[in-house]
């Protein structure tokens, strides 16, 4: 089975923005070209829950008018963007790929959506995801799975599979995803694109439909590191509507891209690159080691570093995230919006609506989280898990005393076949084993494509950095990206 992948087909964010700003291309022509490509291949990929073609054309026309009038429309002028369908878009259906949000049109925009729009970007659609971002393959969608553009019988990863696939298929040069346990980095790896999970609090969560509130972060998918940096410069920064939003700034990431890695200390996380954590494929490990060598060749020093408690990341995550989710998803009760299945009394209506509206994986996690918080078990499960987060953070802090950035796989394997892991939830959960620790610690990490596996499918390398360490993470990513281009 072949693929339709062509990340380059969408062009780059900065090229498009420059061309539109300079008047070399109209925003309308850019949008039309991208909508045409979506028309051609969306049937095979199913990246989108909704393509907002008419609205996109209207926005593009308005941008062209403003440009003609000499206005500055912002650094993302005319750039088509796809938004994961768990971010609120005013008046545009927002579903979380769940039946329970049937028909809901939010009366407000997420902060990131607002910021993209005011930078001149043009939303062309809402992308598919695992229902409420719970999953690692985008198969848990009420609207059917997304297919990996590189090989259509493979998963794109998840939960932001639609956003990753949209960029890999060349539908848009930029999309937004959300990452609670790896939901940006793992699909970025499987789809051969750049994916960034920023420091917790670096990008506002206002308008992101919560899964695990203390873990969720929004970040970009792009074809290049520079495009992600440019996007971060637009969507990042303090938001008074999010009380967990950072008041600190790490400055422009575009400005750090050419700093190189000379003298940088790079640590390979030994638990994830040496067999302590099972199930990481040999071809993946080979690419991580190759990345370390490439950085060394560029002037970095490379060593091994242990983050011992990271092996407890998975069990801790599968208590904390479901616990928070069980509470966050209580509000879907059939009263104020979305699906209602009637019953003789309010309690029966709540139960009927929730039972009909949520898919099996969401129910499983709600059940798990409810149990983890319930009387008699809260301390052992939720309580212990929150303490493990502290230990993981302390281990990372120790590692960052000796190293500037860390390297690890983004995903244990390349893209697997659709249906291969749906039977056993625990097997699916293992996909996140390398990405979860930095969600628990709140630290930034990103996946950069670095070659392919034995099956010819993309492999991403994960770069991790300390809190607010986005600059050093991006400068490393830029070097890795260059090394990859030189090698191929």
């Amino acid at each position: 089975m072949s693929g339709v992948a062509s990340p380059a087909a969408a062009g780059s964010v900065s090229d498009i923005a420059n061309a539109v700003t300079n008047g070399e291309r109209s925003a309308v022509s850019v949008v039309d070209a991208h909508l045409a490509r979506i028309d051609d291949h969306e049937g095979a990929v199913h990246a989108f829950n909704l393509v907002t073609a008419d609205a996109a054309r209207a926005t593009a026309a308005a941008i062209d008018e403003r440009l003609a009038a000499g206005e500055d429309v912002g650094p993302l002028a005319g750039v088509p963007v796809a938004i994961k369908d768990n971010m609120c878009t005013r008046g545009v259906p927002t579903t979380c790929s769940s039946k329970i949000l049937d028909g809901w049109r939010p009366p407000y925009d997420a902060t990131v959506v607002e910021r993209l729009a005011s930078a001149g970007a043009i939303m062309v659609g809402k992308t598919n995801l695992d229902e409420f971002a719970m999953g690692s393959s985008t198969e848990n969608s009420a609207f059917g799975p997304t297919h990996n553009p590189w090989q259509l019988d493979r998963v794109p990863g998840g939960s932001s599979g639609g956003s990753a696939a949209a960029v890999a298929a060349g539908f848009t040069p930029l999309s937004l995803g959300s990452d609670t346990g790896g939901s940006i980095r793992q699909p970025a790896s499987l789809c051969g694109v750049v994916g960034v999970k920023p420091t917790y609090g670096a990008v506002s969560r206002y308008g992101l439909i919560a899964f695990g509130s203390s873990l969720d972060q929004i970040g970009p998918f792009t074809t290049t590191v520079a495009d992600s940096a440019l996007t971060m410069d637009v969507i990042g920064g303090h938001d008074p509507r999010d009380a967990t939003s950072s008041t600190e700034s790490f400055g422009s990431l575009v400005d750090v891209l050419d700093r190189g890695v000379d003298g940088l200390r790079v640590g390979l996380i030994s638990e994830m690159t040496g067999g302590v954590i099972d199930g990481i494929a040999e071809d993946v490990l080979a690419r991580v080691r190759a990345a370390a060598e490439a950085l060394e060749a560029a002037g970095a020093t490379v060593g091994e570093v242990s983050v011992p408690s990271s092996v407890y990341g998975l069990p801790a995550y599968y208590m904390v995230a479901p616990a928070e989710a069980s509470s966050n998803l209580a509000r879907f009760d059939g009263v104020r919006y979305g699906l209602r299945v009637d019953g003789p009394n309010t309690a029966a209506m709540h139960t009927a609506s929730r039972t009909a509206g949520f898919g099996p994986e969401v129910k499983r996690r709600i059940m798990l989280g409810t149990y983890a918080l319930s009387a008699g078990y809260r301390d052992a499960y939720y309580g212990s898990a929150q303490k493990v987060r502290t230990l993981i953070t302390q281990d990372f802090d120790r590692a960052y005393a000796d190293f500037d950035v860390l390297l690890a796989p983004s995903s244990p394997t390349t893209a697997f076949e659709l249906g291969a892991k749906t039977a056993d939830p625990l097997t699916m959960y293992l996909n996140d084993v390398c990405t979860i620790p930095s969600n628990l610690s709140g630290q930034p990490s990103m996946s950069v494509p670095f070659g392919v596996g034995d099956d010819g499918l993309p492999i991403g390398v994960q770069i991790l950095a300390p809190l607010m360490g986005e600059p050093v993470m991006f400068q490393t990513a830029a070097v890795l990206e260059n090394a990859q281009e030189d090698a191929s």
């Binding site: 927002t94 967990t244 209580a330 409810t370």
Partner: protein, 484 residues
């Protein structure tokens, strides 16, 4: 001040039984906006007009803490002698259609205020366990049937109140009589009003009281099964609900049954409590720290500013007025609750007789002192005490002064109230003695009861003759001097 079963016993309970009651009082803080969003915190708006993504719990919305609500909470906490501590907001998870997120953002194991107390006017101290910040729910109206929740056909929900800041003040089970419960709530209300953190209107629901009621044999210190009584809408209902519930418990215990731990609703019309729905699984609230909000850690400067901002509280005002008037603090609590203590003190300072000042304020000025100023009031009281005006005339002048703000001289002379001179009264009495010799005889030599009766007779006749302008005290004096 003492805490013995003999002088703090609920009088409606059978001998040998003691009431054990704790109160949970919810006070709506009168901030400009809600606890977590910028919607107006307003009573009486059109339904669902003060709502936004956050207070409707729309997917993707986030809360941000209202700084003034926290300040109000700390001030109220300090005013009831609590320790203000670092706190963490928590989620209390349960399904309830009036609660948009299906969890209430509240405080759990780390509340803002802990371990305070409140002294009742009679000196009884009620300990306060905690006073924590939380959000209010929306409001349901039950439609169809007879309008009661049990027979409604459907419910309509208004979320204007959802997210309004509340302070929940939880007392220890230190209350021993229904009167103490009422006094506690009145005292708390006085403090809230003095601090100006809420309008504390029970009838509008900006102050709500739930009572945890149990009973035990006197002398025991056990805590028996308690019931939580909700839907109490006034101080008098609070007293009746507690009395009813406590007696229900005693009946159950004495007939070999036992109360069930449950929530019960006060039915004002029927004068009884009714069992709420039994919630088999519902009591597991699965509390955990609210990840969308940060801990609140007051600085030393915050705490100092809070303490400095606390005005003189009702207990202090009560002592000051009681001292000035030479009475017990309990006797002035009504005036303090009404906010008339300052006026009383100013009047007493202006030289008026404290007893008459308290009597007039308590009995004749319950609706307020209107346009009258303390100096004029003091002058009026002096005229009354000096016999220039009878008590009936005084009342009449007072009523005028409250409306017009004039001086008592001006009002009295306009009304033609002149002090009756004793000579004139003497003449009237001479005439009466001549007309009623046998009555006069009984007044002079009858037994105590008879003499008293006849004293009343002659006083009445004199009042009739003077059309009520004679001063009762002067008449009594006159009768006594004429008695052989």
């Amino acid at each position: 001040m003492t805490d013995t079963a003999t002088d703090r016993r609920e009088p409606t309970l059978p001998d040998g039984w003691e009431l054990v009651c704790g109160l949970e009082v919810h006070v709506e803080l009168s901030t400009a906006t809600k606890l977590f969003c910028g919607c107006p915190n307003e009573f009486g708006s059109e339904p669902n007009t003060n709502v936004c993504p956050t207070c409707l719990g729309l997917p993707g919305s986030l809360p941000v803490m209202n700084a003034d609500a926290v300040t109000s909470a700390m001030r109220l906490g300090r005013a009831i002698n609590c320790t203000v501590k670092p706190s963490v907001m928590a989620r209390k998870n349960y399904f309830y259609p009036d609660m948009p997120k299906d969890f209430q953002t509240s405080q759990y194991d780390q509340p803002t205020n802990e371990n305070g107390w409140l002294d009742l006017p009679d000196g009884t101290r009620i300990e306060v366990e905690r006073a924590h910040i939380e959000e209010d729910t929306g409001k349901s109206t039950h439609v169809g049937g007879d309008g009661r929740i049990t027979s409604a056909e459907y419910s309509l929900i208004d979320y204007n109140r959802a997210g309004v800041p509340l302070l929940e003040i939880v007392s220890q089970p230190d209350i021993r009589t229904a009167e103490e419960a009422k006094a506690y709530v009145a005292e708390l209300r006085g403090i809230v009003l003095a601090l100006d953190v809420s309008d504390a209107r029970m009838e509008e629901g900006s102050m709500r009281v739930d009572a945890n009621v149990s009973v035990r044999p006197i002398g025991s210190d056990e805590l028996r099964t308690r019931c939580e009584i909700k839907n109490i809408n006034s101080l008098s209902s609070l007293g009746r609900a507690i009395v009813h519930e406590a007696n229900r418990h005693v009946d159950l215990w004495t007939t070999g049954e036992r109360p069930m731990q449950e929530t019960r609703h006060w039915d004002e019309e029927a004068g009884r409590t009714r069992s709420g729905r039994s919630k088999e699984d519902a009591e597991d609230y699965r509390y955990f720290p609210e990840p969308d909000l940060t801990p609140l850690i007051p600085t030393a400067a915050d705490l100092e500013a809070v303490d400095v901002s606390i005005p003189e509280l009702p207990s202090a005002v009560r002592s000051r007025l009681a001292d000035a008037a030479g009475v017990a603090p309990t006797e002035v609590s009504v005036l303090v609750d009404r906010g008339q203590a300052g006026f009383a003190l100013d009047t007493i300072d202006a030289g008026a007789d404290p007893t008459r000042v308290l009597v007039h304020l308590t009995n004749n000025l319950a609706d307020g002192t209107g346009e009258m100023d303390p100096a004029a009031f003091a002058a009026l009281v002096s005229m009354e005490v000096g016999g220039e005006l009878s008590s009936t005339q005084t009342k009449e002048v007072l009523a005028d002064m409250v409306v017009t703000g004039r001086t008592p001289d001006a009002v009295a002379s306009e009304k033609g109230f002149e002090a009756m001179d004793t000579g004139e009264l003497d003449g009237i009495l001479d005439g009466l003695i001549a007309d009623h010799p046998s009555e006069w005889e009984r007044f002079c030599s009858g037994d105590d009861g008879d003499a008293k009766k006849m004293s009343g007779f002659f006083t009445g006749q004199i009042m009739k003759a003077t059309r009520g302008q004679a001063d009762g005290k002067v008449v009594a004096q006159l009768l006594n001097t004429r008695k052989p």
